[in-house]
């Protein structure tokens, strides 16, 4: 009786969709055998370092490189003057702006790139960088986006003088980048005028940084004989980098090879092209030797791609039962000194218009103004789809504000406003088509799991006890994400539609290699893509080698960010697998001398309908593909798919946090965190859980500690890990995870993507919990990060500290 059924053992051998297969990446990582950019050493390789501005805003009077150049071991010192003849002193950004590669007459943020020193090794380069003498004339800096928009504010971008129209329409001030609006303003205003209840809340989502463990860097190697340029780079989008490098250098893309090796985390920090990449490439071409450039931690935290910095004002209109009638949002978006956001071209605020959330809101209007300040550029999506974290933060905070005004329970008000299941697919007031969702059962499951009523009773008892040393807060979020960018009709980067791709080759022995246009930075693509192929094409995952990141071998794709790998490339993987399967069907039919229509797919074989004893395994079919195919069929067994998704996917979740705030110090302990996620079809439950743990931990970091504050002079404070909060296991709360499954109807396997949901969903959940702790005292909002200092100030202001 101990026999396993043959079908079950075949299924287990496949390790397909739904299997908690161990990550194929981990053996090399945990043994220190990964290969990151800084592990690459080429013969004759040089090392470059940046000379950076100590000032946030200053005119460059002169640059004297003579002492640095005279130092033994120094090979070159590049300044903007050296790049001008090549027209490379400025470069385009992904947002339709330009950015100085090396400062051209003026610096506009602290630590801006001014000169690039190339030397025999990094020690010589660091010493020589100190010898570059730059004379500055300091100018008044502006770090507050509201002050930047005042009439007499300093002009940050003199290069834009006279340009009243930017990449996203009219500019109304010299520090204005764009105004972007969506929704029906008049209808929304009328709904507000008619509503018996309205609430308004201002909130800042502070400037934070993705802070991957591996900083940015590259090795550029130009072969003057062959005319080939190879660049190893920590990039989330190697194919896009190749196109950008081609545009900048005029080298044809066929002569450029970009390789993303193992990547130590990206989280949005590694989407763009940075000045260091351009200068390393130029130096390699000029000197004919490989050049490495690797950021220090301080450089990473203060120059390459911040996230957020959104000053949001939300308003809700509702009836007295708390049913929402309209949402109005105004945003001042601080983009820093260059607009280098990574967003689809048409949407300068990304997918911020998912800010109606999980709620059936009939009227909405959003207006976003992008503003220049003397801060470093970025505005990338830190573990979220484009600006979705900001959007979810806004609506999940606003619905709590409304609940407090009306005295309605914060779970109940959500249940009253959810988009009902029968309304899917749902067209939102801001023009998005939600694919699927089932929100109320998810929230109810969470409330039951944590004994919500019991928690509220405990909270009430503590509030009634003036000697209780803690305040207790309960936070809820019921968020909807938008990921899988995206349909090329809506989304492109530099004019390239945001499709993705997969190529599968099955070898004669039945094993296979699969290549994609995405690139894993911890997501476990080598593991999960193989599982999709296993289920969809019947090839055991253990026999599939997944390769990504080398533009000379992988098909073109837009890369990995915004939780797009599974929704977009994952679909290409499924569809390429189906192409393999359909060719295999014909070969099997040929071998068994029956019609293809009489064959049925069965795990890892094709069998004759009605006669299961007659079957050909995928292994047998693969062999036949190289020696015995039907007449007229090409030999071989391979397929390519480029997938342009018909829509985004909309994962969702219900989260609940319980926090205890120490009245004496302001310290906050997350006592409990329950995260229910619905990402549609679950490919690898273990990887999903790991992704959720990681996303929750990063969300915890943002909510409770991460920020990049500035002083009035434009000095960035907290640009080291002494101040910038990366939680360790000591600080990180215990996470409880749960799930429901609501597949995407338009995705080939129903999968929606998951990695960013826990980040997007948890941050407002933490804030909601902290505010809830103070809610009985009339508090409707407190700013992030909720560190002890800030929280104690709140306690002090309420006269309940200590």
């Amino acid at each position: 009786m101990n026999e396993i059924s043959p079908d079950l053992s075949r299924l287990e051998r496949l390790e397909g969709i739904g299997c908690a297969r161990k990550r194929r990446e981990d053996p090399r990582f945990i043994q220190g055998r990964g290969t990151y950019v800084d592990d690459i050493h080429l013969p004759g390789m040089l090392f470059g370092v940046m000379v950076r501005s100590p000032y946030a805003h200053a005119r460059i009077k002169s640059i004297d490189t003579s002492r640095a150049k005279a130092m033994p071991g120094v090979q070159a010192v590049l300044t903007a003057e050296d790049l001008k003849p090549l027209k490379l002193h400025w470069m385009p950004t992904l947002a339709g702006d330009v950015q100085a590669v090396l400062a051209d007459g003026k610096v506009v943020f602290q630590n801006q790139e001014v000169a690039f020193v190339v030397a025999d090794d990094r020690y010589v380069a660091a010493d020589a960088a100190e010898l570059v003498e730059v004379e500055y004339e300091e100018l008044p800096a502006v770090v507050d986006p509201f002050k930047a928009m005042q009439p007499g504010a300093p002009v940050i971008r003199e290069d834009l003088a006279g340009k009243d129209v930017g990449a996203h329409g009219a500019r109304r001030h010299h520090n204005h980048i764009f105004n972007w609006q969506i929704g029906d303003r008049d209808r929304t205003d009328r709904a507000f005028d008619a509503a018996p209840v309205t609430v308004k809340q201002e909130m800042l989502y502070p400037r934070v940084h993705p802070c991957p463990l591996e900083t940015c860097g590259c090795v550029a190697s130009y072969d003057a004989v062959r005319g080939d340029l190879t660049v190893w780079i920590t990039s989330q989008a190697p194919h896009v980098v190749r196109t950008v490098v081609g545009l900048l250098s005029s080298i044809p893309e066929s002569k450029i090879r970009i390789v993303s090796p193992d990547i130590g985390g990206g989280f949005g920090n590694k989407v763009g092209v940075y000045p260091g990449y351009v200068t390393a490439i130029v130096a390699s071409i000029v000197l004919g030797r490989p050049v490495k450039w690797i950021e220090s931690r301080n450089e990473n935290l203060t120059t390459t791609a911040f996230a957020r910095d959104y000053w949001m004002t939300g308003e809700l209109a509702a009836d007295t039962d708390g049913r929402i009638k309209a949402l109005r949002v105004n945003v001042i978006a601080d983009h820093g000194a260059f607009d280098a956001c990574a967003d689809p071209t048409k949407w300068p605020a990304g997918m911020f218009h998912v800010c109606t959330g999980s709620y059936d809101i009939p009227n909405a209007h959003v207006s976003v103004d992008g503003v220049y300040t003397n801060k470093f550029p970025g505005g990338v999506s830190y573990r979220c789809s484009f600006r979705v974290t900001e959007a979810v933060y806004l609506i999940e905070r606003m619905i709590d504000v409304l609940a407090q005004k009306l005295g309605i329970d914060k779970a109940e008000i959500r249940l009253r406003n959810f988009i009902p299941e029968e309304k899917f697919p749902y067209h939102s007031a801001l023009g998005l088509d939600y694919d699927s969702g089932n929100y109320a059962p998810a929230l109810r499951k969470v409330l039951k799991a944590v004994d919500y009523d019991g928690l509220r009773a405990e909270q009430a008892a503590k509030r009634a006890d003036p000697n209780c040393p803690t305040l207790m807060g309960i936070g809820i979020t019921t968020f909807t994400e938008i990921v899988g960018a995206g349909p090329s009709k809506s989304c492109d980067i530099l004019g390239i539609g945001m499709f993705d791709s997969c190529e599968i080759r099955v070898h004669p022995d039945g094993s296979a290699i699969a290549r994609m246009g995405t690139i894993s930075q911890g997501q476990g693509h080598q593991t999960t893509y193989a599982q999709i192929i296993a289920t969809e094409a019947g090839i055991p995952a253990s026999l599939i080698n997944v390769e990504e990141g080398d533009t000379s071998t992988a098909p073109y794709g837009l890369g990995t960010y915004g939780s797009r790998s599974t929704p977009v490339a994952g679909a290409a993987v499924a569809r390429a697998s189906h192409k393999i399967r359909e060719k295999a069907r014909k070969i099997a039919a040929h071998l068994l001398e029956v019609s293809p229509d009489d064959m049925e797919f069965d795990l890892d074989q094709f069998r004759v309908k009605g006669d299961p004893s007659r079957a050909k395994s995928m292994k047998e079919i693969a062999w036949a593909a190289y020696n015995n195919v039907p007449e007229g069929m090409e030999m071989g067994l391979e397929a390519v798919d480029y997938y342009d998704p018909p829509n985004f996917t909309f994962p969702f979740g219900s989260y609940l946090a319980v926090v205890d705030i120490q009245k004496d110090t302001g310290e906050i302990k997350v006592r409990r965190f329950y995260a229910l996620d619905d990402c549609g079809t679950r490919i690898n439950p273990m990887i999903i859980e790991g992704q959720i743990h990681g996303g929750l931990t990063e969300g915890f970091a943002v909510a409770f500690g991460q920020e990049l504050p500035y002083d009035e002079q434009g000095n960035v404070l907290g640009g080291t890990l002494m101040d910038y909060f990366l939680p360790t296991s000591m600080e990180t709360p215990h996470w409880e995870t749960d799930f429901t499954v609501t597949p995407s109807p338009h995705h080939p396997i129903g999968a929606k993507g998951v990695a960013e949901s826990p980040h997007v969903g948890s941050i407002p959940c933490f804030s909601n919990a902290v505010v809830d702790a103070f809610a009985h005292l009339g508090v409707t909002h407190t700013g992030m990060p909720h560190n002890a200092y800030r929280t104690w100030q709140q306690l002090r202001d309420l006269n309940i500290a200590g």
């Binding site: 004496d664 110090t665 002890a788």
Partner: protein, 288 residues
């Protein structure tokens, strides 16, 4: 993050180390654990031309007892302090403090002597040295001298060590039987300096405070004693009012500097809270 060039010396005896210091004077810095000095060198805030590593001088490491006096070699690592059964029995305050310093990696390299001799008010041991009435053994070309902790900390990064002297040992009298102690530290995260911290050594007799010393971390240019708070506690029962009063007096004696951890007001308040926490815990640990 690359320091300026420097020469590295690794003497194997104390006289050899002192000879190197005499030769190079201000151009030299002693390398103990390196967790303060090396980051400053990498940021190029410090640029010594000579680095004298004390790591090979075996006699500078170890923990012993001579009568009621505990003697700790200056190059004893925080990890060794955390693991010491001798300290756990006779000087648990030091173990509790070391456990709250940074993280395991730092504690395996960082030394108690380096922590004390750096003169950083944010380091944890100086306040504990004050609270315990430690004596510091300094050796120079002219021989050995012993300086009480109360006369050692002169200012931020300024101590009583002369440029040609090496701290070799820390000597601490074991607190009388029945004493209770505690180090209470508020920090933002693992690896951070204290926002404020308090070291308390307390002895009770017949329900009243017979002896108390309180050291404070990172709330003044140097580690300080909360003398007004100590004076107010002597002879009193440690009820809530007395403890709150001690906290308030300790707050008033602080001169904290604002940084990202908080402004002056918050740090004063937190110094008071840490004093209260440490007093309550120390009281619970008193016996007899």
């Amino acid at each position: 993050m690359i320091p300026r060039p420097f020469a590295y010396h690794a003497p194997e005896t104390i006289p050899a180390a002192i000879a190197l210091l005499s030769d190079y004077g201000d151009l030299a810095k002693i390398l103990a654990g390196g967790h303060s000095l090396l980051p400053m060198m990498k940021l190029r805030f410090a640029a010594p031309e000579h680095l004298i590593d004390l790591g090979r001088i075996k006699e500078l490491r170890g923990i012993d007892m001579a009568g009621d006096e505990i003697r700790i070699g200056a190059m004893t690592t925080e990890r060794d302090i955390v693991a010491s059964s001798l300290l756990a029995e006779h000087l648990p305050l030091l173990v509790e403090t070391a456990r709250q310093i940074a993280d395991p990696q730092v504690r395996s390299k960082g030394t108690i002597g380096g922590d004390v001799a750096h003169g950083d008010p944010g380091n944890d041991h100086p306040a504990v040295m004050l609270a315990l009435g430690a004596h510091l053994v300094l050796v120079g070309p002219g021989g050995e001298r012993i300086v009480p902790a109360s006369e050692f900390f002169l200012g931020t990064y300024a101590t009583a060590i002369e440029p040609d002297e090496v701290m070799t040992q820390i000597r601490i009298m074991r607190p009388p039987a029945g004493s209770g102690s505690c180090y209470a530290k508020l920090k933002r995260k693992t690896g951070d300096y204290a926002t404020a911290a308090a070291a308390v050594v307390l002895r009770m007799e017949n329900g009243r405070c017979a002896a108390v010393s309180i050291g404070l971390t990172n709330v003044a240019p140097t580690a300080i004693r909360a003398e007004a708070a100590e004076a107010a506690l002597l002879g009193r029962a440690l009820d809530d009012a007395a403890i709150a009063e001690a906290g308030r007096l300790a707050s008033e004696g602080c001169e904290p500097a604002a940084d990202l951890r908080g402004d002056e007001e918050y740090k004063r308040a937190m110094a008071g809270q840490m004093v209260q926490r440490a007093l309550r815990t120390a009281l619970s640990r008193c016996t007899g």
